[in-house]
């Protein structure tokens, strides 16, 4: 039964690719059916911990790599999130991609993604994680590059894949080192033996963390995620907001569970937390100056992922996973909502070209509003509960309690830029023809929005979270507005909200301009201009030159020239003159006699 989780999407993908390329409708239906089925199975398996007999993938001598499924609360809960969001996105896509010429390919890739993501979630060992890790990278590449004829989409796809590969470089090293340290690749058996120095262990964990940095788009490898918005919006919702990007958090937490959180209680965990905190802060700052509706959401995703990573680093993985759980719903909601808006506005994505959409598209608008509230963590929404836990964790950490203030700043910035988005796009009046012509989307699109809106409201309450969330620690009080943390949090939300409204409500253009934020701290420019162009391309060209010049030309060509030079010299001896020959003969005689007789 659990195998079906893996097999169904794979079968759908394979069937679509092999047989249904020209029959987009059946292809899409097959994909939707498979994801619906897996969702049902996931619900059935929820909370089960049955061991499934693994398959031997590689077996050499005593060494084995298995393909096994690990079922526990974490995995099954995550499955529900993945398949749940997945199902809704599939349904949404049916409408969103209805007119696309490559609809079959799109659904093939979606199914491939579902397969890969399931693999990560259920993986029983690190190699298997890594395999599916790469496969989600592939599906992400394919989906970002869905409209490959657009230069920007093709570039973004490439960038996403390569950036992830950089992270995987560390990930692979980390896996290998952990294998050396613990002697196993299986999550179940991982134990840190005594006598391992903190330095080695921490280094290994940080290497593994590199993988998460890439996949979950943490600084400094975050650059691919905003660009990934070139993909169709449902993809952004599913992959680049709710599930795949969270895989890094999931993987780290899975590791934390297996190896014990003590292993992280050193510079490794601190580094993770700090990277998460910085990402959260920087991404929030960047988000304040973006104009593309999807990019704003993308940066907000970055920021929220930073929260989660920070939580894991602070040894509060449960809080991180809980946030992952709630975030998945409302961020998917926001993306799908933006998708509906974009769909309605004829693929207009600039918020300054929108405006007053709440009137034009009430259902979309209101569901978007719910997502917005959940994201900025208004008390009572799902986001509030999870964020609260992260802030608590930061506050209580021994060494890094200053991260609490970072997190609080992010909590203030989030409402600010989200309010900017909402106020500019949905309130006020229409600022362009595209916005003028917008109208409410069809039921296939708004139904998922409604469902997600409901979940975005209620997912944080214990009665849901205890059942569905991959990891959840029930707090002592649900609403407890005393003490530093809750008060700071509420104040931050209020201040951010009000500031946003004051600055942006009814504005025609952006009154604030911070080029540094708009240019994303110039990190992308730095990468393109310095790392790629100089460090990589120029260096490669130099190496290429030396390869041709030094190795091919000098060393090899040189020895050939030496040989030819000697040859030429010898040929000059053969000058054709008999006298010369006799002379050479004479010298030879002298030499032979000398060496033989003396």
């Amino acid at each position: 039964m659990p195998w079906l989780l893996l097999l169904l999407p794979l079968i759908a993908a394979a069937a679509n690719q092999l047989y249904l390329k020209r029959n987009a409708f059946i292809a899409s239906m097959l994909s939707v059916a498979s994801v619906a089925a897996t969702f049902a199975i996931s619900l059935m398996l929820l909370g089960k911990e049955n061991a499934v007999a693994p398959l031997n993938w590689i077996a050499i001598g005593g060494f084995e790599i298995e393909i096994g499924l690990k079922l526990d609360q974490l995995a099954t809960g995550m499955m529900v999130v993945v398949t749940g969001v997945g199902l809704l996105v599939h349904v949404f896509s049916l409408a969103y991609m209805a007119d696309d010429s490559a609809k079959a390919r799109f659904f093939t890739c979606l199914s491939l993604f579902m397969f890969s993501m399931t693999g990560i979630v259920l993986a029983s060992n690190f190699i298997m994680t890594f395999m599916f890790w790469e496969l989600v990278g592939l599906s992400s590449y394919l989906l970002i590059g869905h409209w490959y004829q657009r230069e920007s989409a093709a570039d973004a796809a490439k960038k996403a894949f390569i950036t992830n590969r950089v992270g995987d470089f560390g990930f692979m090293i980390g896996i290998l080192m952990l294998w050396g340290i613990t002697g196993t690749l299986n999550f179940d058996d991982m134990k840190v033996p005594a006598g391992i120095s903190t330095g080695v262990l921490g280094a290994a964990l940080l290497c593994v963390f590199c993988g998460a940095v890439g996949k979950s788009a943490q600084m400094p490898l975050h650059v691919w995620l905003p660009d990934a918005m070139e993909g169709p919006t449902p993809v952004s919702a599913l992959i680049h907001a709710a599930t795949m990007v969270a895989a890094g958090v999931y993987m780290l937490f899975r590791l934390q569970l297996s190896i014990g959180s003590d292993a992280f209680d050193n510079f490794a965990g601190d580094t993770i937390a700090i990277v998460g905190g910085i990402t959260a802060l920087c991404a929030a700052l960047m988000a304040t100056q973006q104009n593309d509706i999807k990019r704003i959401l993308a940066y907000s995703t970055l920021s929220q992922l930073g929260y989660m990573i920070m939580a894991v680093g602070l040894l509060a993985g449960e809080a991180g996973m809980f946030h992952l759980f709630t975030h998945a719903w409302f961020k998917a909601l926001l993306f799908l909502g933006s998708g509906a808006v974009i769909h309605a506005c004829h693929h207009q994505q600039d918020i300054w070209q929108m405006g007053g959409l709440l009137k034009k598209m009430p259902i979309t608008g209101f569901t978007f509003l719910i997502g917005f509230l959940a994201l900025i963590a208004v008390p009572g929404t799902a986001g509030f509960f999870s964020k609260e836990q992260i802030l608590e964790a930061a506050h209580h950490h021994d060494r890094l309690s200053w991260l609490f203030w970072v997190a609080a700043t992010v909590a203030l910035l989030t409402p600010f830029y989200m309010t900017r988005l909402f106020a500019v796009a949905f309130l006020g009046k229409q600022r362009s023809k595209d916005a003028d012509h917008a109208h409410e989307v069809g039921p296939l699109m708004f139904l998922p929005l409604l469902i997600l809106a409901v979940l975005g409201l209620i997912a944080g309450y214990p009665f849901i979270a205890e059942k569905l969330a991959p990891a959840y620690e029930k707090p002592a009080h649900l609403f407890h507005f005393s003490g530093l943390v809750p008060i700071t949090s509420v104040v931050a939300v209020l201040v951010g909200l009000v500031a946003g409204l004051v600055v942006y409500l009814g504005k025609e253009r952006d009154p604030i301009s911070v080029p540094l934020f708009r240019d994303r701290f110039r990190i992308d420019a730095f990468y393109d201009g310095v790392l790629v162009r100089y460090l990589q391309d120029a260096f490669a060209a130099i190496v290429h030159f030396f390869d041709e010049f030094l190795i091919s030309g000098l060393i090899v060509g040189g020895s050939a020239r030496i040989a030819e030079g000697f040859g030429g010299l010898f040929r000059r001896v053969q000058g054709g003159n008999l006298q010369g020959y006799a002379f050479a003969f004479g010298i030879g005689v002298i030499l032979v006699i000398y060496f033989t007789a003396f």
Binding site: W57, E134, G145, Q149, F161, R165, G180, V200, L201, A540
Partner: protein, 486 residues
């Protein structure tokens, strides 16, 4: 029976020379060989009709002997027959040159199979050389671009490498007193053949350089890319896919079992060179402007990984540790790389035939007009950069695991592991160049050369699928292949 695998292509070659229809005879031989190869893979263990030994010289005792010593030979032979058939099917001979075209391919194939199946050191070496001549001729005669320079370069390099190798092998056989490889290995393992470390070191140096040149070990790699870029498709497929593996096979078959200390003595230089293969050549690959040159360089680069497994094995056996992963890793990656690079060259040839160019700057948006080609090329490109589910990944991951097999956290990183870490960076590099190339060729808006390019026909797909299916099957279930190694 095994001899039949070698003889069939030769018979077909002679038949073609004698006037039989070239393509048909060649494909028939290829098909028969594929069937034989599969049969061999299934039955080689429980049947002794797979070995044959004919004495050809009394003193020193040489035998024209073929046998499956272990699964490694089986896998290499399997690789050979697969790529051979694909190469025969996928190429298109220029008008009037069918005889040469198919004849040479058959000769290369026969040589490769002979080398992989021979148990006599002499014929092991000799068959490989036999295969080189038609390679040179094909590149020089039917190649494209700077075919003469490229052919000249490969001729000189491989000729020189072969001679150095010969010196090493002769020395080895002289010390062992026999040319029979299994006997030699047995003697070395039982201790009855003990070669002092200094001698081991010298022989190992000759073998590393000799085999290394054949496998384009850095810095002896300059021949490879231009040769493959110029070679006609079947030649590039057969050489890069199959014949080139001979050097690695030789190190695994001869050098490592017989000269463990010698190989270990060169561990550090070997590691430096293989990292050179991966990083240096990797960077060279990035800066290529033509698809074929890029593929040629990439095949050089990937040799570094297999060398890494060899180095891991060398460092383990000499220190008395065991590394059961290294040899399967190397074999698996050889197989996977052979299949994938053959497929890449085959498809690159299709791209050139369909668009008329391989300059990256002249291509673009081919996925629109030729989606089938794009899909298959994408698949094999992904395979070559190590995407899970395709055979290369299993090989690469095993190689990395083998490098870390004897990792001792308390002692810190050994040289092999340092090289392993640097090699993993190669995974990034290969992603960079491969995706860039894919991006330039298939993505983006269409350009004049690709607007009306035709897609693969069914007949075109056949050879590609012949390679793609094993790539996928082994990738999904590597045990299928690895079980042959037990």
């Amino acid at each position: 029976m095994l001899a039949l695998l070698v003889i069939l292509p030769l018979i077909a070659f002679i038949a073609i020379l004698a006037g039989a229809p070239a393509r048909k005879s060649a494909v028939a031989a290829g098909l028969a060989n594929l069937a034989l190869g599969l049969w061999a893979a299934a039955t080689w263990e429980n049947s002794d009709h797979w070995s044959i030994s004919l004495p050809v010289l009394e003193k020193p005792a040489l035998h024209l002997a073929f046998a499956f010593t272990d699964g490694m030979s089986v896998i290499m032979v399997l690789l050979s027959v697969l790529v051979t058939l694909a190469a025969l099917l996928s190429g298109k001979a220029p008008e009037g040159r069918e005889t040469l075209y198919y004849g040479s391919s058959l000769l290369i194939s026969a040589g490769a199979i002979g080398a992989f199946a021979a148990t006599d050191l002499f014929f092991f070496y000799a068959f490989h050389e036999l295969a080189l001549i038609p390679t040179f001729v094909m590149i020089g005669l039917l190649g494209r671009g700077d075919r003469r320079d490229a052919a000249w370069k490969i001729t000189l390099y491989l000729g020189f490498g072969s001679i150095i190798l010969l010196a090493g092998l002769v020395w080895l056989a002289n010390l062992a007193g026999t040319f029979d490889i299994p006997t030699m290995v047995r003697a070395a393992q039982e201790g009855s053949l003990s070669i002092d470390p200094a001698t081991q070191k010298s022989i190992a140096a000759l073998l590393i350089v000799g085999f290394g040149v054949l496998v384009s070990l850095f810095p002896f790699h300059s021949w490879a890319a231009p040769a493959y870029a110029s070679a006609p498709a079947p030649t590039a497929m057969l050489h890069a896919g199959v014949l080139k593996k001979f050097g690695l096979y030789g190190l695994l078959r001869v050098a490592l079992p017989i000269l463990p200390d010698g190989m270990n003595a060169w561990l550090i230089p070997l590691l430096v060179l293989l990292v050179g293969n991966i990083l240096w050549v990797g960077l060279v690959t990035i800066s290529q402007k033509r698809l074929d040159l890029m593929l040629g360089n990439s095949s050089v680069m990937h040799m570094g990984y297999i060398f890494l497994a060899i180095a891991a094995l060398a460092s383990a056996t000499a220190t008395g540790q065991s590394n059961p992963l290294a040899q399967p890793a190397a074999v698996l990656l050889m197989f996977a790389h052979g299949i994938s690079i053959a497929m890449l060259f085959g498809l690159a040839d299709r791209i050139e035939r369909n668009t008329g160019t391989l300059e990256l700057s002249d291509l673009g948006g081919l996925a629109k007009s030729a989606p089938g080609l794009a899909f298959l090329f994408g698949m094999v490109a992904m395979a070559s950069i190590g995407l899970p589910g395709l055979a290369n990944f299993a090989g690469e991951v095993l190689v990395f695991l083998s490098a870390f097999k004897n990792y001792d956290p308390a002692a810190g990183l050994a040289p092999v592991q340092v090289a392993g870490i640097l090699a993993i960076w190669g995974v990034v590099i290969s992603a960079v160049y491969m995706l860039r190339a894919y991006r330039r060729v298939f993505h983006g808006p269409s350009v004049p050369s690709t607007e009306n390019a035709s897609d693969l026909s069914f007949a075109d797909r056949l050879p590609v699928l012949l390679l793609a299916v094993p790539l996928l099957v082994v990738g999904i279930y590597p045990n299928l292949l690895l079980s042959l190694l037990k």
